[in-house]
Each structure stands twice: as structure tokens, then as C-alpha cells.
């Protein structure tokens, strides 16, 4: 029965994207600019630093937020990554993860707070977040390349689409999880809406917000390989290269690097969330 009437959605989308590329590419290039600056800053910075300094900073953070065990593990993991010849790729990936997580936090926390305080906003945001999380990355890789061209910046933008939802969701959850009597108490003592937010809701939602940050970091790392498909460098590229040339050894080395980094970043941010 569906043979005669069909919705030509594929054509519409193609036409729309082409129209965007033809007429508004400049706008998207402008949008790209701040991301590019941030990313380049991190990339150059991290690569300019002596590896020992980077390792020391990571181990100190692990020691401060968790303890000696994690610090020792972080030391072993980072040294291993270096010995595997992945240092430069790791720094590129780290720069991409940091850039996308910072941008996700910048937009995600305020959006999450708004969603936490307004049922209507939450309801309208939810399907968008669902779409961002479930749409296969391959679907939006092509339009992103068409609008932003290939490279690390396009990789970061694709990562943001995928990694943004958890921090929004968990920030909203955290704000909603604050006991209503505490909000009422603050109001009874004359707190303005802003004071309720700053002095009660955000501090109490902080562990949940940090759990969201942790999830966002993990999702960002899981995009590393996919981002490599559109020319982003970093730990994803040995994997993709290995895949294309059936060089299993090379792919596994890249994979090991990703896993080690993921474990270190996950444990550090998790202990940050649990500390308070």
C-alpha cells in the first residue's frame, strides 16, 4: 500500500543540506572559529610540554582526588602509552576530549539547570537529547564534513553532539533531586531565585553534575575512533589505519591507548564526584 505515496525525506534533506552549504557555509565557518582556537591551544600546549610534566600533572591529580593507588596506576598507564609510541596521538586525543568537554560543560550545565527548574523546558528538550544520543554518528558525519570540512575541529563537533546529552540530563536530575524542603527553607528565609540556585541547588546537585561530567568524558572518548573517520587525528587514527590495511597489531595498539586513557580519566573524575 505504500508504493504509490512516499515521503521523499531523503531528497528534502539532501536539498536542505546543499542549500545550507551553498548559502551559509560562511556562517558555519565562523561557528567553527572558537572551537578551533580552543582545540589548537590545547593541542599546541600539550605537545609543547615535556611529557614528564604532563605525566606529573596527571599523577598529581589522581593522587589529590583519589590516592596513591590511582596515582601509581596513572603513572604506569601514561608511561606505557609513551613506550607504545602513542604519545603524540594521545596528546591530540586529550586536547580533543578537553575541548569538547569544556564546550559541553559550558552549554550543558546551564541547559541542565534550566531543564531542572522548568518542566516545560525539560519536556521540549528531552526528544532533542534522545535524538542526539541515538542517531548513529555516521548519519551526521557527512553533513558535518560538508559544513565544517574534515579535520580535528569537525571531529570535536561530532563529539559534542554525542557527548552533550549526559551532562544536561544529569544536571537536571541533580537540580530536581534537591529536597524540596531545602528549597522551601531557603525561600522562607528570603532567598531570591538566584540565591536558591547558587546557595542551595547547585552545591547540592554538584555530585550528580560531576557524574554527568564523567559520563560526558567517557562518551567523548568513545567518539575518538569515529572522529578519526572524518580526518581527526589522535588515538583513533592508528585504529582506522590498522582497520583499512588489516594491520591488526597497529589497531590493537591504538585500542590499548584509548582504553588506558579512558580508565585514567574515568577514575580521576569519578573520585572528584565522590569526594564531596
Amino acid at each position: 500500500m505504500f508504493e504509490e505515496i512516499l515521503i521523499p525525506l531523503d531528497q528534502w534533506v539532501s536539498v536542505f543540506i546543499e542549500w545550507l552549504v551553498d548559502n551559509h557555509r560562511e556562517f558555519f565557518q565562523t561557528l567553527k572559529w572558537p572551537v578551533e582556537q580552543l582545540l589548537n591551544g590545547f593541542e599546541h600546549g600539550l605537545n609543547a610540554l615535556h611529557p614528564a610534566i604532563v605525566i606529573a600533572v596527571i599523577c598529581l591529580a589522581a593522587w589529590k582526588f583519589s590516592g596513591k593507588r590511582l596515582a601509581a596506576f596513572s603513572l604506569a598507564a601514561t608511561v606505557t602509552v609513551g613506550l607504545l609510541g602513542l604519545w603524540e596521538d594521545t596528546m591530540i586525543t586529550l586536547a580533543m576530549v578537553l575541548s569538547s568537554v569544556i564546550i559541553c560543560t559550558l552549554f550543558g550545565v546551564p541547559l541542565g539547570i534550566m531543564a531542572g527548574r522548568s518542566d516545560r523546558f525539560e519536556a521540549s528538550l528531552r526528544p532533542v537529547l534522545d535524538a542526539m544520543q541515538t542517531t548513529p554518528a555516521f548519519v551526521y558525519l557527512v553533513p558535518i564534513v560538508m559544513l565544517f570540512s574534515v579535520g580535528n575541529v569537525a571531529g570535536v563537533l561530532a563529539t559534542i553532539i554525542f557527548a552533550l546529552p549526559p551532562i544536561i540530563r544529569l544536571t537536571s536530575l541533580g537540580i530536581r533531586g534537591v529536597h524540596p524542603e531545602l528549597v522551601e527553607a531557603a525561600q522562607a528565609f528570603g532567598a531570591t531565585r538566584r540565591q536558591v540556585l547558587v546557595k542551595v541547588q547547585i552545591p547540592l546537585a554538584m555530585p550528580t553534575i560531576l557524574a554527568g561530567l564523567n559520563q560526558t568524558i567517557m562518551m567523548a572518548l568513545s567518539m575518538v575512533v569515529i572522529a578519526a573517520l572524518i580526518g581527526a587525528g589522535g588515538l583513533g587514527s592508528p585504529v582506522i589505519l590498522g582497520l583499512n590495511t588489516l594491520d591488526i597489531g597497529r589497531a590493537v595498539v591504538g585500542g590499548v591507548g584509548i582504553v588506558l586513557m579512558a580508565i585514567v580519566l574515568d577514575r580521576i573524575t569519578q573520585s572528584m564526584a565522590q569526594r564531596k
Partner: protein, 406 residues
Amino acid sequence: MGTIRVENLYKIFGNKPHKALEMLKEGHDKQSVLDATGMTVGVSNASFTIESGEIFVIMGLSGSGKSTIVRLLNRLIEPTAGRVIVDGQDVTAMNNNDLVKFRLHNMSMVFQSFALMPHQNVLDNAAFGLELAGVDKEKRHQRAREALEQVGLAGWEDQYPDQLSGGMQQRVGLARGLAVDPEILLMDEAFSALDPLIRTEMQDELLKLQEEQQRTIVFISHDLDEALRIGDRIAIMEGGRVVQVGTPDEILQNPANDYVRAFFRGVDPTNVISAGDIVRDTHPTIVVTKKGSLRAAHEILSGSELEHGYVLDAKHRFLGIISSEGVREAIEEGRPDLTLSEVFLEDGDPVNLDESMQDILPMVASSPWPVPVVDADGVYKGVVSKNRFLRTLHRTEEAMNGEGAA
């Protein structure tokens, strides 16, 4: 300062309150409004005045609207209709800014679940209201320390709420309320979550604080013993309506309806009625300026039919009790120049006006003379006799049981 006038206050929960409001004004009750409109009546046509410096207890079963009405006073819940006027200021007409200022300075609140900020230590919790008001750190910490000391929590400043017991947490809640030095303190079932022993202790604490500095306290409770213990006046709520307002013994002796009577059934009236309620000035008094003469006292006593006389000083402060027999003996023994104080009866101690019948029962029962009653300054107010005591007991039992059956 701190007088609260509530005028025809209504709160209806639901999206179309006006139809429900009309129905209430036509005299329908909570249930029929719910059936007809689906709206829940929180408070219906409440009007009363809370005097400055009194402890006003609002009592009722759960669902009677007592927690709603206290939140209408500081507009944590917006009223549907009616007015709340505090010291001439219409709270219900305030804009957001004025309301915030009003809450910062005039009215603070203590919560059933304590509602302390778990991320702040005891000191910062106590200073919370002042922090919101923008008081600088040093000053607000000093005020908070004073408030914590008032509630007996000096030395606990650096602890966090979850390190404290329930009673201590509520002391912090109370300190937080006191630190802003409000004229009005709202207490929403403040002691209901505490175990009975601690609850009594906190009630005493509150009465002690009230003695030091009189504030207007609006106290919500479902516990009758609590209401009777601390309330200067009690309002009883049923189904969103205020059914009776009065002093404990006014309500006890003259309950407005069966609901109120049911509340008080099983209450020991001797806990509620105080010596001041039943004191009578029936006995001769002898006012002395210096020593007082035996002969004059003898004259006065023999002029009355009664056996005992009560000796007061020039300011009518109670000094002691004499018996006509004792005076006569002294005169007959040829020592008419004895002072009156030398013939005072032993154990002739007075009781205080606000002691309950329960408290004075042992004295009334054991002493051969009517027990003298004095006020806080020691001024003589009259006596309570065995006869009077028993008659009061009998009458209140009748009021509570007899009329209830009709």
C-alpha cells in the same frame, strides 16, 4: 510588633479555583467542593488575630490545612483570596522584592524535617538567613554563634548536620530562625519528628527562650499535649476551616463542637487549668506595714467566720499564713507584742498563678488551709480551697463527657 491579622483567607489547590471559591462562600464543605469541581480546599475562610508576643498554636489532624495556613502567612503558598496583615503591612499585596525583604527580616521558619543545608556546617547553617541578607561574614558568624549558644549548641559550630542527633539538628534549625532576630517565628510541626523525651526538652527550651525575649510564635502541631503545654492560645482546624480559637482552658471548658471535644477527650483537665484560672479571693487578708500587730490581726480574724488569714506587705506581696487559733494562743500566753511573722504557720508556702491543677494537687490535698496563690512578683491573688478544686474537676468532666453524648 509582630501582630498578625488573618482576614477571610482561602487557599484552593487546582487550576480553576474560582468556582470552588464560590461554592465555599455558598456554604459547601471541603468534600462537596472536591466532588463537584475536583479542587482541593486547603484553607477556607480563616479569620483570626495573633497577638504580639504570644505563642499561637494551630492544631488539627493531618489534612486539616494547618501546614497550608502557616505557608500562607509568609506566602510560600500563594493565597487564593483573603489577606494576611502583619503590623499593618498587607503581606498578600507585596511584590516580589518586598516579600523577599519581609521574609529576610520579619519572619523566619522552623521545619518539621529540620531542612538544614547538608553542605554547610552548623555555624553556616545558623547564619544562613543573614548570609542571604548580605551580612558580612564576621558579623553573621558572631550572630550565629550567639544564637547557637542560646539553644545550647556552643562548641558544635564546625560539625555538619548529619553528624548531629535529631534533637540537636532541630536546635540548629531553631538557631537559624533566631539568628535573624525576627519578630515572628513560624514553627511547622517543629518538634513532631523528635522522640517524646527530646520533644518535651525542646518545648521547655522554647518557653525559656520566649521568656528571655518575647516573639510572636505561630506553632503548628497535631499533638494536643504539646499545644496545651506551650500555647497561650490555640486555634483548632478541621477540613480547612478554623473551628475554634481560644486559650486552652476556654476551649477545654467550652468546646465549640464534637470535633473539638473529640480532640480533648482523654485529656486530663488538671494539666490544662492553672491555679490562676480557679483562684478566688475569699479569705481575709491582713496588710502589714512594719511588724504588724497581733491584736489587730485577731480583730480581723474573729470578725470573719474563717479560720485562716493571709498576711501581705504594703505592696500586697504574700508573707505568710496565720490561724485564728495561733493568734489567740499567743495573746492568751501573754505575749501580745510578738510580731505576726513569729506566729506564721509552717509550710504555708504559696503556689504560682500558672502552675497547673496537676502541679498544685499535692499541696491542696495535704495542707489544712486553702493554698495561697501569687503571681510572678509574689503578689497575692487569692486562694484555692479543696472545695473549689474538686468542684472545678467535676464540672470540666461533665462538660467533656455529658454534652458530647447529646
